[in-house]
Each structure stands twice: as structure tokens, then as C-alpha cells.
């Protein structure tokens, strides 16, 4: 049994919360640079230039790329041979979020009740997802996400007869309806299969993939490529002000489902799409 101190987990979450919000990931920065070279719209190129300049300023001054530092989502991969010492694992993670958002000058964007809407003032609670695996690994994936893009996301409970064409139509419709609202260029995570709760979770996890990655299954890779091409043909463009860079990537994930079901969840994300990973 491997011993892992809760205190160490708190420190890791604190540091990663700050890092994820202040440093644009290289895969996104490269995608934005490449898009700028290919973007035919003058306004579109200006928007992409501002986004790249902004990322450089944020990195240099160690301030958040976007003022919406999001609701924190953390995926925990816990080896079953790891024993957490010195306290509660979940509380250690929440304390890391609390410290990161306070010490890192990140915005506190969480309200306690959806109707009463009183701010919790430390950005907790984060949303935690645990996966238990064999061995003694301990991994954290942080994905703080802003609301502008989250609000444009959708879940479709399709019929099996709708098939892959129906799923593609749902994704394209969602991107079109989002238009300028989610801060395009977007990153789009799609989860197909499972049920009412697993499809959105899969869509969220799809956003963790590196921007230039492809799905290993040929039919899913083809779906990703077709969707990216079509979404970039809508004309929405950077910030919705016209152009050919509407999405930087479409990542699709699939999983088993019921004989009567075809859930398709579309999680829209923005040009900042934050994620940070560590292994303790």
C-alpha cells in the first residue's frame, strides 16, 4: 500500500488551479497561431492576434487569461493501492481549490444555491469525478470552465435510427446556435452513448484531449474531421465576427449504450479551454 499525504494533494491542486488559468496550453496556442495564418477575414485575423497577445500578457504577468476562471472540474484517477493519509481526500482537493483561487487572484464564480445565488467566496465546491484503477497511481486532471461556453452546451436523447448522421446534425446545430456567444474559436467535446448522465461526462472528458489528437476508431475520426470542416464552413469565425476559424477541434468519444438509446452530448468550450494534469 502506497501512502500519499492529503497535504501534498492540496498543494498540487492549488498550484495547478493557478497554472491552468494563467498559462495557455501550447496545443491551443499553436492552433490559434496556425488559424491566424489561414484566416481569410481581416477582422478574424485581428481577433486571433488579440487572443495570442492576451495569452502572452497573461503568461508574463501571471494573471488569468480570462476573467471567468470558471467552475472547477477535477478528474481524479485513484489507484486502489493508494492510501490517503492525514485527512479526507475530497476535502484536501477542495482546500487546494480554495487556496489556489484565493492566493492566485482568480475570480470566485460559484454560488451556493441556483435560486438564492449567494457567492461562496472561495470558488468551492469544485465538481469532483473519481475513477478507481488497479495499481498505485494518483493522477489529477483539472478542467476549470467558464460559463459563456458551458451555457451553449446541449444534450440530445436521439433514437438509434437517427444514427451517426443524426449525431452529426445535433453537433452542427449546437455550434450554429452558439454562434458568437461561447467565444469562438471553440473546442467542441462530444459524448455519444451511455445514458442521460454519462454522455455529458464523456463530452467533458473529450475536452481534455490534446487539440491535434484523433480518435483511434476510424468511423469516429471521420466524424470528427467532417464536423470540424462543416463547423468551419458556417462562417461564424473568430468571436463570431465572420471567418473560417469557428472551431479549433471537435473531439468525439463513444461508449456502450442501451439498445433503445442514442444519447449525444455536446459540450462547447472556448479558445482558452483550460486543462492541467499531474501525477503524484
Amino acid at each position: 500500500m502506497r501512502q500519499l499525504s492529503a497535504h501534498r494533494i492540496t498543494e498540487a491542486v492549488r498550484d495547478l488551479s493557478i497554472r491552468a488559468n494563467c498559462f495557455l496550453n501550447p496545443d491551443l496556442e499553436n492552433a490559434l497561431s496556425a488559424a491566424k495564418t489561414n484566416e481569410p477575414s481581416l477582422i478574424g485575423r485581428e481577433m486571433l492576434t488579440q487572443l495570442l497577445d492576451n495569452a502572452a500578457i497573461a503568461r508574463q504577468n501571471q494573471v488569468p487569461i480570462c476573467q471567468d476562471t470558471g467552475l472547477m472540474v477535477i478528474f481524479v484517477t485513484l489507484g486502489q493501492e493508494v492510501h490517503i493519509t492525514d485527512g479526507s481526500l475530497s476535502e484536501a482537493i477542495q482546500e487546494g481549490v480554495r487556496q489556489g483561487y484565493t492566493e492566485g487572484y482568480l475570480r470566485k464564480s460559484v454560488v451556493k444555491d441556483p435560486f438564492l445565488r449567494e457567492n461562496t467566496r472561495d470558488n468551492t465546491p469544485a465538481i469532483l469525478h473519481y475513477t478507481i484503477v488497479p495499481g498505485d497511481t494518483f493522477q489529477l486532471d483539472l478542467a476549470p470552465k467558464g460559463a459563456g461556453s458551458e451555457n451553449m452546451s446541449r444534450l440530445f436523447m436521439l433514437k438509434p435510427s437517427d444514427g451517426i448522421e443524426g449525431a452529426k446534425k445535433a453537433v452542427l446545430e449546437t455550434a450554429e446556435a452558439a454562434g458568437p456567444n461561447p467565444c469562438p474559436p471553440m473546442v467542441i467535446g462530444v459524448g455519444c452513448g451511455g445514458n442521460f448522465e454519462t454522455a455529458p461526462l464523456l463530452a467533458k472528458q473529450a475536452l481534455l484531449r490534446p487539440i491535434s489528437s484523433h480518435h483511434p476508431l476510424p468511423h469516429i475520426r471521420a466524424m470528427e474531421e467532417e464536423l470540424l470542416q462543416k463547423i468551419n464552413a458556417t462562417g461564424i469565425g473568430p468571436q463570431g465576427l465572420g471567418g473560417r476559424t469557428t472551431a479549433l477541434a471537435v473531439h468525439v468519444e463513444v461508449c456502450p449504450t442501451h439498445i433503445a438509446c442514442l444519447p449525444v452530448a455536446v459540450n462547447i468550450s472556448c479558445h482558452v479551454t483550460r486543462h492541467a494534469h499531474c501525477e503524484l
Partner: protein
């Protein structure tokens, strides 16, 4: 080349702005987003007053990140505007002439803009650190308990923005999208 504009925005100024104009905004504006809008309208109902002079005012839809020591304000990009659509027509009818945000507006907002010769600017969503450098001063003037959502009076210099919807109701999102749409790829 951008057009320099100075706040407060008179109706003579707004009437001369057109969708697609790239502007650099200087002067005094006010921040307000979801909770502040809700409360402003509730307070007006009770007292007949707004927390600042609404005549020719420009509201920036934003909730900044906290300032680091020595900074005037933290990163401060626009939030998505449609969530303020329920409140904007009332404010436009009471003197507001400019709104800064990002994303689409409702038919009712566009009608109120035409009726009151107002403009809607988009600032670059997610360019919060860049926009932060254009803020000269910041003071909380109402609803401090709302934290990031409190109403702030900001002095800004050359804040970059673009006129997305003008006082005639022209919408840059619609016109630019149509120019770059590839109907053959979409099978239309």
C-alpha cells in the same frame, strides 16, 4: 484604423457609428452584469433612482478577476450579453446609450436600441489580460456585497471594441457570417 470615441456617448455620437466600426473607447463607464442588473431594476422600482446617472451612460457587461497588489483591477473581459437582454430595454429607455459585451442580442433589445439611438459594442471575449491594460482607475460605487458583480465606475483609455449592432439595427454578426459561409461544404 480605429475611431477614437469619448464617453459619455451622446445620441449625436451614437447615430454616427456603424456596425463594423472598430473603435477605441476612452472616458467613464460602468460595469454591471447579471446580479447588478437585477438589483438596479428592483431598486429603481422602489426608489425611482439608479446607482449612477443613466443619461448617456455606457455599461460594460463584465465581472473582473481580483486585482493583484499594485494593480488597478484584475483581468476584465466581456461576459455574454444575452443574459442582460431581460433588463437592457428598460435601461435604454431610461438613458443608457452604449453597451459593451459579447454575443447575440434579442429582438427586443435591438428594437429598444433603434428607439433610443443606442449602440452595442463587442469587446474580445477571453482577452481579459489585454483589456485590463486599458483601465486607468476603478471604484466600486454600488452593491459591494456582490463581489465581482459589484457596480464599478471605470476610467478607460483606448479600450478596443467593435460596433456589432448600430442604432439602425444593422448586425455585424449576421452580415460577416454570411460573407464567409461555404454553402457547398454544408450542402445548402
Amino acid at each position: 484604423m480605429s475611431i477614437a470615441i469619448t464617453l459619455p456617448l451622446t445620441k449625436a455620437q451614437t447615430a454616427a457609428l456603424h456596425a463594423g466600426d472598430i473603435v477605441a473607447i476612452s472616458g467613464t463607464l460602468y460595469t454591471a452584469r447579471d446580479a447588478a442588473h437585477k438589483r438596479m431594476l428592483e431598486d429603481y422600482e422602489k426608489t425611482g433612482r439608479f446607482p449612477f446617472d443613466m443619461e448617456n451612460a455606457t455599461i460594460y457587461y463584465t465581472g473582473p478577476a481580483p486585482a493583484k497588489p499594485g494593480q488597478v483591477i484584475g483581468p476584465i473581459g466581456p461576459t455574454t450579453s444575452y443574459r442582460m437582454d431581460a433588463y437592457a430595454p428598460f435601461l435604454l429607455d431610461h438613458g443608457e446609450t452604449g453597451m459593451i459585451g459579447k454575443g447575440k442580442r434579442s429582438e427586443a433589445v435591438v428594437e429598444a436600441m433603434k428607439r433610443n439611438t443606442a449602440v452595442y459594442f463587442a469587446a474580445t471575449g477571453g482577452a481579459a489580460a489585454l483589456l485590463q491594460s486599458h483601465i486607468l482607475s476603478s471604484e466600486i460605487i454600488a452593491y459591494e456585497d456582490l463581489g465581482a458583480e459589484a457596480i464599478r465606475r471605470l476610467e478607460v483609455r483606448d479600450l478596443p471594441a467593435i460596433v456589432v449592432i448600430d442604432s439602425q439595427g444593422n448586425d455585424l454578426y449576421a452580415t460577416e457570417k454570411a460573407k464567409y459561409r461555404q454553402k457547398d461544404v454544408l450542402g445548402e
